[in-house]
Point group: C2
Chain length 275, copies 2
Amino acid sequence: MPESESPAATHVFDEAIDLVFAGDNRFTGHTHAAYANMVGPFGGITAATILRAVEQHPDVLGIPLSLTINFAGPVAEGPFDIVARPVRTNRSTQHWSIELSQDGAVATTATAVFGTRRATWSSTEHPAPPVPPVEDVASQPFPDFVAWGRNYEMRFVEGAIPEPNAGEHPDSTTTLWVRDNPPRPLDFPALAALGDVFFPRIFLRRGHVLPAGTVTLTIYFHADAEALADQSDSAVLATARSHQFRNGYFDQSAHLWGSDGTALATSHQLVYFKA
Amino acid sequence: MPESESPAATHVFDEAIDLVFAGDNRFTGHTHAAYANMVGPFGGITAATILRAVEQHPDVLGIPLSLTINFAGPVAEGPFDIVARPVRTNRSTQHWSIELSQDGAVATTATAVFGTRRATWSSTEHPAPPVPPVEDVASQPFPDFVAWGRNYEMRFVEGAIPEPNAGEHPDSTTTLWVRDNPPRPLDFPALAALGDVFFPRIFLRRGHVLPAGTVTLTIYFHADAEALADQSDSAVLATARSHQFRNGYFDQSAHLWGSDGTALATSHQLVYFKA
């Protein structure tokens, strides 16, 4: 990450995930108004912040391979504490347990696997779908009442946010070109946040906004540092869908590819809803 | 679970996941030779055992919604300790952090979300694929050197374990009818184990056995107690595939449906490989 010469040059994403290491596995941070969601912060910024804690830990080994975040309770506007504990370090992998708390109450639990990668036989079995190039897809604003949406440039190829009175939709697939707004070179925390960048699939299926929130989110990172450098601040192609909605919960699986078709990450989540 | 009247009537799965609650969030258990894998126990039996710990905890709320297991280090043949801690209990959800250790070294970390469900609008967006009925598909034995495979009746519809010198396969999809052997009524631990019942996708793609092991596994439970009771000991239709193999790791997503087409669970994992 380049050092900025003045505070004005700091990207809002970096402000939001900024942490102070307090020693003994402890970090302190503060919620950022620009990433507020309807209730508490955007889940993706919480995921990014927790990943940042591990990245900044003095004992970290390698790069992120996976991250699971459990949204145990609401995060209130204000300061928070993160404890990131390296539970086990092997030769090429490292396992982390992380908790984010406020006033002693745990709001978020997480586990992460970091590690080193070496070149092996590789194969992209699930390639990016055929879509129009980014410049041919119009940018669409997020609803005004969702602050965090303003930090992303979103160009929906299919499954855009439903218009009022849209009615039911037969499937839950959303595909979009997306990048930080203003543009920012992709790194692992930003990629983690993009793994949660989709509005709830139930909005699309039902055709309107209703109470919904991610309960647990898992991201598998396929990108290494070289893939992130190649991607830089270009738009990411992202697609998400659900498989099953039942009795208060639905799942979502998402795939993210770089502008050149490189698979960057897959993410999965389970979401609470009231309908 | 029905109490058995004699030890001979206890299913091997129940023997394998048997735990003793020692108070203060602690359980003790022992690996079971019948669920041994090439290195350490079958990951599915570890997932089932950890889920069982939470189910047996006196403070448990509701039924499993999600489970993430991180295979941090090998589990050696012998006794192990599990600490299952209810980190946060809300009105309808409960978040758990769990660690399995041997001689004080953490071998497995996990998080789980439990909760109560209520009837809502529901939809199976990803139905079971069209396959022959279970009785029309031949049962195939697992390789002899994998003990745990003998505890499952597996009827491969596509993507069976490659024969020697099979050569490369263009895709990683395996679909099979599967159930416990001998048959056993499905419960959440058994469903968790089935979420990891697939041999490594890289074997299929490359056409031979090579070093591979799950690093992290996440299961989303769509079934409730009623769906499990309806399923009983019938075969489950299970399908798994990978999206990306790159530099030492590949992902896998799996879907499990009941014999009547009810979506029971989806599972995702990241797997280490050497090729």
